[in-house]
């Protein structure tokens, strides 16, 4: 990759990236879960996570990132699609129309009153697909000489 040749000694960038990565990543998780009530959701969450990984790619290089995160993004995309489809298809097995979502409120320890949605599972599928596809594209284009 050409980009890596431009910078030979990015100590500050690399050091910052290591910390900022986690901040962005956890923020994206927060955004993902908050999505149902406040701004956010699977799509933005997924994009944020990928941008966190992209930051690592820019600071280090593709090979290193691949070593740190040995994830096959194609599988990730497939998992996301299957999860989304399964969540959507599940209701027809209990006699409800396709894509009926269920939710209820629970009192969980630590969290207090919490609502649990099947919509969140669907959103998780979206999240995985977005991360998977973005990273697949970036990885393939980046590795192509």
């Amino acid at each position: 990759m050409k980009v890596t040749k431009l910078k030979t000694n990015d100590l500050i960038l690399q050091f910052t990236a290591k910390i900022v990565f986690f901040i962005i990543f956890f923020f994206s998780i927060h955004i993902f879960f908050a999505g149902h009530y406040t701004p956010g959701g699977g799509f933005v969450g997924g994009l944020l996570t990928s941008s966190a990984i992209v930051l690592l790619v820019i600071a280090f290089d593709l090979k290193t990132v691949r070593k740190i995160l040995p994830i096959n993004y194609m599988y990730m995309t497939a998992t996301g699609l299957i999860l989304a489809l399964a969540t959507a298809a599940f209701p027809i097995f209990v006699g409800k129309p396709f894509f009926t979502h269920f939710f209820d409120y629970f009192n969980l320890p630590l969290f207090g009153k919490t609502s649990l949605h099947t919509a969140a599972l669907f959103d998780l599928g979206v999240f995985l697909v977005v991360v998977g596809v973005t990273m697949t594209i970036i990885q393939t284009i980046g590795e192509d000489e």
Partner: protein, 808 residues
């Protein structure tokens, strides 16, 4: 459970690759065998109920909002087909275990396709809802495509697979059109409900059109003239597949469809003429050309075509019963019985013959009848089975084919007496066609068995030293051969149990209470082998045998006549012309004209089209309104942002270096995000920000690959065209936004979302709830498209790389 049973093979198919990979010592077929065996025993339990006229109905909601559900409707007809599918399926799987080598073949592919087909076929014959029927119908075409192309390394397999799919899927699309028309006329997609209101449907304007469209579907699937051309090419499939799909089950889907829709359409003259006429033509054509073939499976393919024509003709004759008074006392009531009877018989004897053809191929290495001969002493068991099957096919006693052929002749003899549509003048012609076809059927049956098994053994011509097949391989054809004989001796038991309930489904109006014995309304048909010396059927049969025998003994002298037909005048040539000449070459030229590879041109076409359509619609609907009523005043900071936005855009346009352009574009994106923030759309702002960031990163990645700006030569006209299109797009968006703002034709949907977001969806953020719940379908498809796009990019780049490596 009943609906689930249809899907059991499909579910089982999931485990096949695992079993194939991890349990290599046991042939995968043994595991597969369990599925049809279970299903056949499951369907057997329905026999006693259905025999008494108690149809079984079960449904499973699929898309309630569109009123689509899987309805499994088991009456006599569908139960008979289900039993055939699972029963023959069991034998075919058993046969395939010995036919396909477990070490050399890709067994998991084979059995997945086969199980997929089983589900599809069960679905076709049990669906009461026409949309699901269509769905399963196309699934049979697809699985047939995959199975024919199983040995995909061979050119002929791929050609045959494509041909069969092109023809049957085209027919299926016509059929879908017919279904939709019928549903619009009747107001329901349920076949049972349509049958109930059949008399009213008759007077509808599009009745005949729907009829013809549905028949096109049936004729293509059941290989009727002139669509039969795909069936001989489909013989490239492994022999178990030919025995199963292309003789016993799938090609009978068209027969099933015609039988199922007879109560609706029989009142139409067009139906009677088309079904009977095409059926007889196919019967004649198939039997004539079967003698021309030199490939064992080719003979059987044409013979299947001709026998399907026979069944079709009988169904057409059974529809005549609607047109005659006092039909229950005429011979037309026999037609439906004979059709179903022959269908069962054909499945037994043709199934066994196909398996024998496969055995001969397997043990000698060739299917060319010119090289074969004298195998009788080497393969005595195969010879016996083949002899039984062939004699039954030729219509000789004591085999079941004799009985149904007699009934066929009876039905054709009565056609002569029928007058409503002037059958009296045509009737005799139909009879002649039937007799000639029977003669040739006799000839090709003998041709098949005696040219293979008697005569001189040409050991030097054979690729392998022939020997008898292993006993396991012979079990399935032997069972079928035994059935061929047994059915001859107990036709009336078979009739009571299987055929009469099915006949009632085809001709329900003939019988008041068909399942009560000794009532006048019951189906009182008995099959007799002996009609007495005075019956014309007997003399016709004798005549057929004599002429057939003479023709067979002189075969060598007149077989050459077939060479007279020039290859250019066949339907195959027509198909090739359409596929290769018109579609392949024509479309390649067309796409070369339009798609020359420049993305910028594509974008320009698309934008121009959008512009044209939207502005055109606005003009046409007189929708331009511009009013600034209720608009908020523009604040200073907004003005500044707008100036930044415009400057950013201009920078991008006039930038000389690409990096400036990227920065400009980034500025535009971030400013737009700020606008979102200002107008209370935090979700959009957030997404826009992240998207901008990631696209800048992407630009950095691909930067190295991009050509330098300004290097490209451009013709001035193209630049002007681009300018015009971009101005057009800008104008369009502005006009659209202003017009949309200036008039409210319908109530905004905002309120609905605000009211229901908490109560219905249990959420607070409308944007996200719309994405995952209200319009979840959109999102599902969007992420699917996204996933496909990712895979596409991956494939394009990675595959290109590996090809480059290959060249090195």
């Amino acid at each position: 459970m009943q609906v689930l049973a249809i899907f059991i093979p499909l579910f089982a198919a999931i485990f096949i690759p695992l079993l194939f990979r991890h349990v290599r010592t046991i042939h995968t077929g043994w595991f597969v065998l369990i599925v049809p065996l279970l299903l056949v025993s499951y369907y057997v339990t329905f026999i006693s109920r259905v025999m008494k006229g108690n149809d079984v109905l079960a449904s499973f909601n699929w898309i309630p909002s569109l009123n689509i559900s899987f309805i499994s409707y088991l009456d006599g007809l569908s139960l008979l087909f289900s039993l055939l599918i699972t029963g023959i399926g069991t034998l075919v799987v058993l046969y395939s275990i010995f036919y396909l080598d477990k070490t050399k073949e890709q067994l998991h592919n084979f059995y997945i396709y086969l199980l997929m087909f089983m589900t599809a076929m069960l679905g076709v014959v049990q669906s009461d809802h026409m949309i699901t029927l269509y769905l399963f119908w196309e699934l049979t075409s697809i699985s047939s495509f995959l199975l024919i192309g199983y040995w995909f390394q061979r050119d002929k397999s791929r050609f045959g697979a494509l041909k069969s799919m092109m023809i049957t899927v085209a027919g299926g699309l016509f059929m879908l059109g017919g279904f939709v028309l019928l549903a619009l006329m009747g107001g329901t997609y349920s076949i049972r409900e349509l049958i109930a209101q059949a008399p009213q449907l008759m007077d509808e304007q599009y009745f005949v059109l729907a009829l013809v469209l549905i028949l096109l579907g049936a004729f293509t699937k059941s290989a009727q003239f002139p669509f039969y051309i795909w069936l001989p090419d489909a013989m490239e499939a492994p022999t178990p597949v030919s025995a199963y799909l292309h003789s016993a089950t799938m090609v009978k889907a068209g027969i099933y469809l015609v039988a199922r829709f007879t109560p609706i359409f029989a009142a139409s003259e067009v139906w009677v003429w088309l079904v009977t006429g095409i059926g007889l033509l196919t019967l004649l054509w198939g039997s004539l050309f079967a003698v021309k073939q030199t490939d064992l499976k080719g003979i059987l393919a044409f013979s299947t075509v001709s026998q399907l024509g026979l069944i079709m003709a009988l169904l057409g004759a059974s529809a005549i019963a609607y047109h005659v008074e006092d039909a229950a006392n005429t011979m037309f009531k026999y037609a439906a019985f004979a059709a179903i009877f022959h269908l069962i018989n054909h499945a037994t004897f043709k199934g066994s013959l196909f398996m024998i053809a496969g055995i001969v191929d397997h043990e000698t290495g060739t299917r060319d009848i010119r090289k074969l001969g004298g195998l009788m002493s080497i393969m005595p068991l195969s010879f016996t089975v083949a002899l039984i099957g062939s004699l039954s096919m030729a219509g000789l006693p004591p085999f079941n084919g004799f009985l149904s052929k007699e009934m066929f002749l009876t039905a054709m003899l009565t056609l002569k007496d029928f007058e409503l549509f002037e059958f009296s003048t045509w009737g005799i012609l139909l009879l002649i066609v039937a007799v000639v076809a029977s003669v040739f059927t006799f000839v090709y049956s003998f041709y098949f068995v005696f040219k293979t098994f008697t005569g001189k053994l040409q050991a030097s011509e054979l690729p392998q030293k022939p020997h008898e097949a292993p006993i396991g391989m012979l079990i399935a054809p032997m069972i079928l051969a035994v059935l061929v004989v047994i059915i001859f001796f107990i036709p009336n038991l078979v009739g009571d149990v299987f055929i009469k309930p099915a006949v009632f489904a085809i001709q329900p109006f003939l019988y008041q209470d068909p399942f009560l014995s000794s009532s006048p309304g019951m189906i009182d048909i008995t099959v007799e082998a002996w009609h007495g010396f005075k019956s014309p059927e007997l003399w016709l049969t004798v005549c057929i045998f004599v002429v057939g025998a003479i023709l067979f003994t002189t075969l060598g002298k007149w077989q050459k006549l077939y060479r007279v037909q020039p290859a250019k005048l066949s339907f195959n040539a027509l198909y090739d012309f359409i596929m290769d000449g018109v579609l392949n070459r024509g479309m390649t030229n067309l796409s070369k004209h339009i798609m020359h590879g420049s993305v910028r041109h594509y974008l320009m076409y698309m934008f121009a089209a959008i512009c044209f359509i939207v502005i055109g619609t606005l003009f046409y609907k007189d929708a331009f309104r511009i009013s600034f009523k209720g608009a908020a005043p523009i604040e200073l900071y907004q003005l500044i942002l707008i100036i930044v936005l415009v400057l950013g855009t201009l920078t991008t346009l006039i930038a000389r270096s690409r990096i400036t352009a990227i920065v400009g574009l980034g500025a535009v994106g971030y400013t737009v995000a700020l606008f979102f923030v200002m107008f209370n759309a935090p979700d959009l702002a957030l997404t826009q920000l992240v998207i901008e960031t990631i696209s800048v990163a992407l630009f950095l990645l691909v930067f190295y690959h991009l050509p330098r700006l300004g290097k490209m030569q451009e013709y001035t006209p193209f630049r002007f065209r681009r300018l015009a299109v971009s101005i057009g797009i800008g104008a369009m968006v502005t006009l659209l936004a202003l017009s949309a703002h200036s008039q409210k034709l319908v109530e905004s949907i905002n309120k609905y979302y605000k009211d229901t977001v908490y109560t219905e969806a249990g959420g607070g953020n409308i944007v996200n709830v719309i994405l995952v719940d209200y319009r979840g379908f959109d999102t599902l498809f969007e992420i699917t498209v996204l996933g496909l796009a990712g895979m596409g990019i991956y494939a394009m780049i990675k595959l290109r790389l590996s090809r480059k490596e290959k060249i090195k």
